[in-house]
């Protein structure tokens, strides 16, 4: 165990290294590329015994990772924004084939207009893809979530995305504790499943008629629902083993008697903690719910955590056009039937800064709004 300064990219790379990935495939894109280069360096330096497939596109990156996974190897890929959209077809396909591929995503805004800066819109666009999606608050969580991602993926046989924001995390150094390899080996033994195996040949993804297709989809969704439990269990096992508790699906922060609650995910959670602490010091009953698992969406956990609050303010770094912020929409839906005021705000798109002062202003605005907002409000224009 050692503590060192790592960027989010490096933390993801160390996660892949500790997981002893067997096959790596990626196509360079900004800002995900430093994570890719770091894993390749581990391989070149002989610190990681991994086959690297140097593909010609993002689509082929996930295709190669999927092929390797079908042949029974632990596989990893990295991408973001346009790369993620380009591989979208394979993203859905991988989930349908129940392959435990882990993908790090250095969240970046989507074109047009062109932007290389942080935002969660790329991951949100994959919300119906059947991938488990974890959002990380800081670089320590990036590393820890990488390891938990492989555990979750191989337990429930579903692919997992580990989301961390471009630049804000991918290019920012923070102290990160790197767990001991031996302990990780114990926590994460390889559960090898060979779907494509010459010893046991089978047809994969044969045409499914209406008689079969819907039942496959039912099973796939059932696995997503079971993942709600698996994610919690893996987080608590990890906490027991390594002393860091990321609290499973959601984390309730200063929620005991909270009346006004911020709901957020990703790097904004970090700033929101500062705001909550400051307002608490000033005697305000403010709390925070961090959504760590965006898919499967933790409906029950949120209903439980938010049942006694009076006002919810959701912060979204994404926009679903014609609907609003994705998290705000989901939280509203999760709380259907409960009469809690809820306002959701869209902020920080395409790298626009979100300061603690701005989060405070958002909370003030939310408090001044008499009625529950029907659609998301834009902040910081």
């Amino acid at each position: 165990m050692s503590t060192t300064l790592l960027t989010g990219s490096e933390a993801a790379a160390y996660g892949a290294r500790l997981a002893r990935i067997e096959v790596l495939a990626y196509y360079p894109i900004t800002p995900a590329f430093p994570a890719m280069e770091r894993v390749s360096k581990f391989i070149d330096d002989g610190e990681l015994n991994t086959r690297f497939v140097r593909v010609e596109s993002d689509h082929s990156a996930l295709a190669a990772a999927l092929g390797a996974s079908l042949a029974g190897s632990r596989t990893f890929t990295v991408t973001n924004s346009q790369g993620l959209l380009y591989m979208t077809e394979v993203v859905y396909h991988t989930a349908g084939l129940r392959q435990p591929v882990v993908m790090a995503v250095a969240n970046r805004a989507l074109s047009a207009p062109h932007s290389r800066f942080p935002e969660q819109g790329d991951a949100i666009s994959q919300g119906a893809s059947g991938w488990i999606q974890l959002f990380c608050e800081n670089n320590q969580e990036v590393l820890d979530n990488m390891l938990q991602a492989f555990k979750i993926a191989e337990t429930i046989r579903l692919p997992v995305m580990v989301n961390y924001e471009g630049y804000i995390q991918s290019h920012t150094l923070e102290e990160v504790e790197i767990p001991d390899e031996e302990k990780i080996d114990q926590f994460l033994p390889l559960n090898r499943v060979r779907t494509l195996d010459v010893e046991h040949p089978q047809g994969v993804n044969t045409v499914a008629s209406p008689e079969f297709y819907m039942d496959y989809k039912f099973r796939q969704n059932e696995a997503m629902e079971q993942a709600l439990t698996v994610i919690n269990n893996v987080a608590s096992d990890y906490a027991k083993e390594f002393g860091r508790d990321w609290s499973g699906l959601i984390e309730a922060y200063q929620m005991d008697d909270a009346e006004h609650v911020i709901v957020a995910m990703g790097s904004m959670v970090s700033d929101a903690r500062i705001v909550v602490d400051e307002l608490r010091k000033a005697g305000r009953k403010v709390g925070l719910v961090k959504v760590r698992a965006w898919r499967p969406f933790p409906v029950e956990a949120l209903r439980e955590a938010l049942k006694n609050v009076q006002l919810i303010t959701v912060c979204d770094k994404n926009i679903v056009y014609g609907l609003g912020g994705a998290l705000g929409t989901e939280v509203k839906s999760a709380l259907y039937g409960q009469s809690i005021r809820l306002n959701s705000y869209i902020l920080g798109l395409g790298g626009r800064d979100v300061t603690t002062e701005e989060i405070k202003k958002v909370l003030e605005l939310s408090e001044k709004t008499e009625q529950q907002a029907i659609t998301s409000e834009w902040f910081g224009l």
Partner: protein, 145 residues
């Protein structure tokens, strides 16, 4: 938590310096966050690197609108190009080498100025160590949240 912003030009060891100081502070048991301005810049273009240091895990994420306690200017030609005091705290300090407060005049926008000249000996090899010494003397590293 204290925030230090290093200004220089792309190609100069700006990030290298902030990282070296960050590593040393980590060794001293501090919590550290370091990042360069989020941009794709060509060699010679103005850029900056941010160092945040504290006794607790750094939670602040704001990247474009930083509010430094100390601004260190590593390339004096920048004084004519950008406002290095942008966002600086009311009691913030600007540091530079080979400059005087009088020469800078209103470019300081009221911030106090510390000349780094006395701290640098000719051929001083460990620049990071020099900065750490200056920052300690200026109480920047005494964290009292």
């Amino acid at each position: 938590m204290r925030e230090i912003r290093f200004h220089g030009r792309f190609g100069q060891p700006v990030g290298k310096l902030s990282r070296a100081i960050g590593q040393e502070l980590l060794r001293q048991g501090k919590n550290v966050q370091v990042f360069d301005a989020f941009a794709a810049v060509r060699p010679g273009a103005p850029m900056y690197s941010i160092l945040r240091v504290g006794d607790e895990s750094i939670r602040k994420r704001s990247a474009n609108n930083t509010s430094p306690d100390i601004v260190v200017v590593l390339d004096n030609s920048l004084f004519d190009v950008i406002d290095v005091t942008k966002g600086i705290k009311a009691d913030g300090t600007v540091m530079a080498l080979g400059m005087t407060e009088n020469a800078l005049g209103d470019k300081l926008h009221g911030s106090s100025f510390v000349s780094l000249d006395p701290y640098f000996e000719p051929n001083s090899s460990d620049v990071a160590a020099v900065f750490l010494k200056v920052l300690a003397e200026r109480d920047v590293l005494v964290v009292n949240e």
